[in-house]
């Protein structure tokens, strides 16, 4: 018994020594939407600055907001900006200091599907999308879909809807769009990170939805563009407010942000779904890092500020390779000034 105890203590001590390191660990959690670019950024940043380790857990925007409010992580990430109630809740838990939103990239939520025999890009009207997710358009060969996809052989199979099971910024973007183009959706379901979906199964994270669509025939889901691209699953074009069917890509997402860039509010909370513009992709969005206004640990504070500056300059160089669009110049300039607000 004594020998065992001594052995255990020895091992513990060894562990503590061996694993003790000088690197400062900064913890974050949140959206799965930008996870591919964040994981790349944090990896690259760590190689450039070995003293800092940014540990980001892709658990969904809802969890990101909650954990940064509770203070169990140093920063959060979300594609659905915090609403006023959530910001107030944060202030109450943190002695009145606030939380800041920093846009990082522009991305797009795309309708991705797995239909037998269909390998190309399908066109979706706003009404079709609303109908599908409301559970009213139930078959792939429904006129709402076939009428805008002439020449494509759509089967008479049931549409299986896949949505998010966790609190998701991607869901926020999707439901925000649906609320704008469908009165019925707005009154029946509403927008949010976690809604009462009328139909479908839930996948965990963008990863889970992609996985479900990839493996289950006749499904449709919504994911961030890069997930569809990286996994070689087809995604459709959506009819924008000018009447054009636009597929999500760097150009169409940047076009969607053009208007907002000029009129960006000071707190950076803005929605660009169903944006005007001939070439705009209607389901685009910024995604934000949530940084507390006051960071207690000076080491962490400087690390975060350093990362943000890097992200706005060098970091933007690697986003297009992963199909995210760069932030508009005006937004970058505004953010650089806003970094000073972090104390």
């Amino acid at each position: 018994m004594k020998r065992f105890a001594g052995f255990a203590i020895g091992v513990l001590a060894l562990c503590a020594i061996v694993l003790a390191d000088n690197a400062l660990l900064i913890n974050g959690a949140g959206a799965t939407f930008p996870y591919p670019i964040y994981s790349k950024w944090f990896d690259v940043y760590h190689t450039k600055n070995p003293n800092f380790q940014f540990n980001y857990q892709s658990v969904g925007s809802g969890a990101g907001i909650k954990q940064v409010t509770e203070g169990t992580v140093d920063f959060g990430a979300t594609d659905g900006p915090m609403n006023d109630d959530q910001i107030k809740a944060f202030q109450e838990k943190h002695n009145g200091t606030g939380i800041l939103h920093f846009p990082t990239v522009l991305g797009a939520a795309v309708p991705t599907y797995n239909v037998e025999g269909v390998t190309g890009s399908l066109n979706f009207t706003p009404d079709a999308l609303a109908g599908i997710f409301l559970g009213k358009v139930t078959k792939w060969n429904d006129p709402a879909i076939t009428s805008v996809n002439k020449g494509v052989n759509l089967p008479a199979a049931d549409i299986l809807v896949v949505h998010r099971s966790d609190g998701s910024g991607t869901s926020y973007i999707w439901t925000d769009y649906l609320s704008k183009i469908s009165e019925e959706w707005k009154s029946k379901v509403g927008k949010g990170t976690s809604v009462n979906w009328p139909t479908g199964i839930g996948g965990k994270g963008n990863e889970g939805v992609t996985g479900s669509v990839k493996t289950t025939p006749n499904t449709i889901g919504y994911v961030e563009l890069i997930y569809a691209v990286q996994n070689n699953i087809p995604y459709g074009a959506v009819k924008n407010s000018s009447g054009n069917f636009v597929k999500a890509d760097l150009g169409s997402v940047t076009a969607a942000a053009a208007g907002a860039a000029k009129e960006m509010p000071d707190d950076f909370r803005v929605s660009i779904t169903n944006a005007p513009g001939k070439a705009a992709y209607p389901i685009s969005s910024f995604t934000w890092l949530l940084i507390p206004q006051k960071v207690q640990d000076t080491g962490k504070r400087d690390a975060i500020k350093g990362f943000l500056s890097w992200m706005l300059t060098d970091g933007q160089g690697s986003v297009e390779a992963l199909s995210y669009a760069k932030l508009p110049k005006e937004v970058v300039e505004k953010e650089k000034k806003a970094i000073k607000n972090i104390q």
Partner: protein, 283 residues
Amino acid sequence: MTGRLRWRKFVSNFMLAMTGVCAFVSVLVLFFILGYLVFNGGTSINWDFFTKLPKPVGEAGGGMANAIVGSGKILLLASLMGVPIGFLGGIYLAEFSGKGMASVVRYAADLLNGVPSIVIGIFAYSLVVLPFKHFSAYAGAFALGIMMIPITLRSTEEFLKSVPRMLREGAMALGASKWKTIASVIVPAAYRGILTAILLALARVAGETAPLLFTAFGNRFESHGWSQPTATLPVMIYTYAVSPYDDWHRQAWAAGLVLLGLVLIINILARTILSRGFAIPRS
């Protein structure tokens, strides 16, 4: 008469054969699981798997070094938390307690044993994560440690009680005080059984995922010390399995094989120790 008897005999043989089928099917499942894991995960177990950190999303390669170390750390700490409580509590039940106190403690232990692991996770979150404001290895260890207590407690009590009276009485006749009897005679006599129980408790919590979801959370890097979020093998398997990336699936299989291998080895070890007898043989 003989016709009816023949039918009854036929039914008898048939039904008994069916029970044999049931038994073999049940056992076959174990080998199927093992085989499938070896087949799918075996090829992915290479040096990288054990030594490298995870790569960014979508990039192939990388390993689970941090998860393996993280699991090891948490299990070690969980044992240090749970085993002494269970062991010493078991001694109390077997050697010192009166009937009333004993049944209360036993009841509490049985209750704790039946609590679903996700609920233990909730408990650990409210008690250890929230007040300290971060996810940590010791929060995870706390949750797992609690789960180890009931098995250790009940087994310690059982095995201590089953030590032959003659050993006890002999020691006391020689004038040893009670605690000395326990420490130098009874516990060593029962050590095999107790060790088995500890190993089985360890095997049980080694595979637990749910309580770690909101205590240890997760980490892409090595976790230093005990107060940082920590990657663990079961949580990594879960994360990778529900993702769409084939490379991650491959790694999930490999991790599953490692985890299952670990759990089975501990189990087999424990049962082998126990089958050799739980008390020192009378020479």
